[in-house]
């Protein structure tokens, strides 16, 4: 990798887009730089399950040709992007991190893919994830875990650890994620990057392999707030192929970042997420960020979400219940794996043998739990009660948003834990999601952005803002403002402190060896 490439991969998507627009850099150069980076570091990081170097370079060359011919292109045209493997792509395998879909190339593109391709972005590969997005660490991927670029012994978060690690390790400036209980925001928190869960229905889910249909949402992953906003603007909007898609006309999220100003903004600190159970260094950085916002003219108030302690319980009933239903489609008939039991059997025997071999431990755990929660005799006590808790959580948010424009909390209780630390205790793993799942239960949007490194372990800490449904632009306003204030105070970006994964690269480039 040359010196020039080394600099190209460190540009934000917005900065790279400017260089592409001015003709200073070609999309082929930008795409090649990121593919070279993947070749150099992904052996260690394992953010990608699949890359398509030749196809992505051909797509990039086509964009360069159109630009050279004077065609008016989208500002992000030519910028590489990584795609979470939960999103179907008609030119790359899509596995959702599961053996049951190994090698499957879908016959259609997700709506977000259609939109990305229309805007001229360059899909460079599919990113690793917990199987069917079930997890907070990517350790439940059937293809092995992704490693956190800040410390390769630690988790990159989950389920979208691959997308977060890809942007954190400069393998792509942008990625798509999906967030059912925090799978975009928690990986952003532990990797020092930015992730946004839009309002439920704000971005089409057509072509996202469903985990829990009343909770799932596709959203942007990036290193800067502006980059997420620009990607959000590309993928948002009504889709007749998704019956839960909102028909709203959305304001420009990128404009919200460019005009960011927190003067007079009322920010509500969620009392239940500001103390017990949270790591000291996480709380330290969190409170510093609040001070920075207050100094810039924001008004910090306290808000309470009293039903929060029931939210995880409700989530871990609703999500598995919906998952057990959604995953029934993996039946060995229409796509994916088929395993014939010894001696043959009926189609149901084949189905059972296939699902036994094709699903990993966590998928089985959640399917069985969901089947239990939905079974006769338990439905009212578990699933029915969980749906009522959902109402209570929504009421809590409605009351809190009477007192504040946005709410705030640390994104997760701790910094990145070690790979393997929580795999033996599913409930301990589930408790990591305390701060992120309430937004999914209520359908409201959330953002996580980095606010520094925890004193005790030097690992990234994220802050989460939440806004009322349909008010995603408020997140970009407050996120953009805080990011600018922090970077001004630090004199650099947080991600610039991440360890160099390929230290030979620069030295070799300076010696002219590559």
């Amino acid at each position: 990798m040359g010196h020039h490439e080394h600099e190209l991969i460190r540009l934000s998507a917005a900065a790279l887009a400017e260089k592409l627009g001015s003709g200073e850099v070609s999309s082929v150069e930008a795409t090649k730089a990121h593919l070279d980076r993947i070749a150099a570091v992904d052996g260690e990081v394992h953010a990608f399950l699949h890359t398509a170097p030749e196809a992505s370079l051909a797509t990039a060359a086509a964009i360069d040709a159109r630009r050279a011919a004077g065609e008016e292109l989208h500002p992000l045209a030519g910028v590489p992007i990584a795609i979470k493997d939960v999103i179907v792509t008609n030119d790359m395998p899509t596995t959702s991190g599961s053996k049951i879909l190994e090698g499957w190339v879908p016959p259609y593109d997700a709506t977000v893919m259609v939109k990305l391709r229309a805007a001229g972005l360059i899909p460079i590969g599919k990113t690793n994830m917990d199987e069917f997005a079930m997890g907070s660490s990517t350790e439940h991927s059937a293809y092995g875990p992704t490693h956190n670029p800040w410390d390769l012994e630690r988790i990159p978060g989950g389920s979208g650890g691959g997308s977060a690690a890809a942007v954190a390790s400069f393998e792509a400036p942008l990625a798509l994620g999906s967030d059912t209980g925090g799978s975009i925001r928690q990986p952003a928190h532990v990797t020092g990057t930015v992730g946004v869960k839009p309002t439920y229905g704000g971005v089409s889910r057509y072509g996202a392999i469903a985990l829990a249909s009343s909770l799932d949402q596709i959203g942007p992953v990036s290193r800067t707030v502006l980059d997420s906003a620009m990607l959000h603007d590309v993928i948002a909007g009504h889709d007749p192929f998704d019956s839960t898609s909102l028909t709203d006309a959305w304001p420009s999220m990128a404009e919200a970042v460019r005009r960011a100003d927190v003067k007079g903004l009322k920010i509500g600190v969620i009392q239940q997420l500001d103390g017990e159970g949270f790591q000291t260094g996480v709380l330290e950085r969190f409170r510093e960020a609040l001070d920075v916002l207050a100094a810039a003219g924001a008004e910090i108030v306290d808000v309470s979400l009293p039903s929060l302690e029931y939210a995880i319980a409700a989530y871990y009933l609703i999500m598995p219940a919906e998952a057990s239903s959604n995953l029934a489609k993996f039946d060995s008939v229409r796509f994916g794996l088929r395993v014939n039991p010894p001696g043959g059997g009926t189609v149901e025997d084949v189905m059972s043998a296939t699902r036994e071999a094709g699903f990993g431990a966590e998928a089985k755990r959640r399917i069985i739990l969901g089947t239990y929660a939905l079974s006769a005799g338990y439905y009212d006590a578990y699933y029915g009660s969980a749906q009522k808790v959902r109402t209570l959580v929504q009421r809590d948010f409605a009351a809190a948003f009477e007192q504040a424009d946005v709410l705030v909390s640390p994104t997760a209780p701790t910094t990145a834990f070690k790979l393997g630390q929580n795999t033996g205790d599913p409930m301990a793993m589930y408790l990591n999601d305390i701060a992120t799942i309430p937004a999914n239960l209520a359908g409201i949007p959330g953002i996580s952005l980095p606010v520094g490194l925890a004193r005790e372990d030097g690992l990234p800490v994220g802050i989460q803002f939440l806004a009322p449904a349909r008010e995603d632009a408020r997140l970009y306003n407050v996120g953009g403002a805080l990011e600018a204030l922090l970077e001004q105070a630090w004199g650099h970006t947080l991600i610039s402190l991440a360890p160099d994964l390929a230290p030979g690269e620069m030295a070799a480039a300076q010696e002219g060896a590559v």
């Binding site: 016959p107 259609y108 439920y200 229905g201 009343s214 007749p240 019956s243 839960t244 039903s307 029931y310 995880i312 319980a313 409700a314 871990y316 057990s324 029934a328 039946d331 060995s332 008939v333 229409r334 088929r338 039991p341 043959g344 059997g345 009926t346 189609v347 149901e348 025997d349 084949v350 189905m351 059972s352 699902r355 036994e356 431990a361 089985k364 755990r365 399917i367 069985i368 739990l369 089947t371 239990y372 079974s375 006590a381 578990y382 009660s385 969980a386 749906q387 009522k388 808790v389 959902r390 109402t391 209570l392 929504q394 599913p426 409930m427 589930y430 999914n440 359908g443 409201i444 449904a469």
Partner: protein
């Protein structure tokens, strides 16, 4: 402690069409017991006066116009199938001998 038994897990696995091994049934029984103990608290606050929410953003049912749209060809639909005869998915016997 919840009352989840190995027989119950085996029954659920059958309903979910997953041929779990005896070892998996054993470990899932204790894991599910612990998870259910943790999530059962939802019933503490789910009083009769609280309505259930199934969907985060209230929406009306959505119908599309009854007009032909773009659909998959048979070839595309069969492309990922484990087995097919060129126009249909092929499976083993639907009914067992005792049926």
């Amino acid at each position: 402690m919840s009352e989840i038994t190995q027989e119950q897990v085996a029954h659920l696995a059958n309903l979910a069409r997953i041929a779990l091994t005896p070892q998996e049934i054993e470990s899932l029984t204790s894991e599910l017991g612990s998870i259910v103990d943790n999530v059962a608290k939802v019933s503490e606050v789910a009083t009769p006066d609280v309505p259930a929410t199934s969907h985060p953003i209230p929406l009306q049912n959505v119908y599309r116009d009854d007009e032909p749209g773009v659909t998959l060809t048979s070839e595309q639909a069969l492309a990922g199938a484990p087995d097919h005869d060129g126009s249909r998915f092929r499976v083993t016997a639907i009914l067992g001998e005792e049926q």
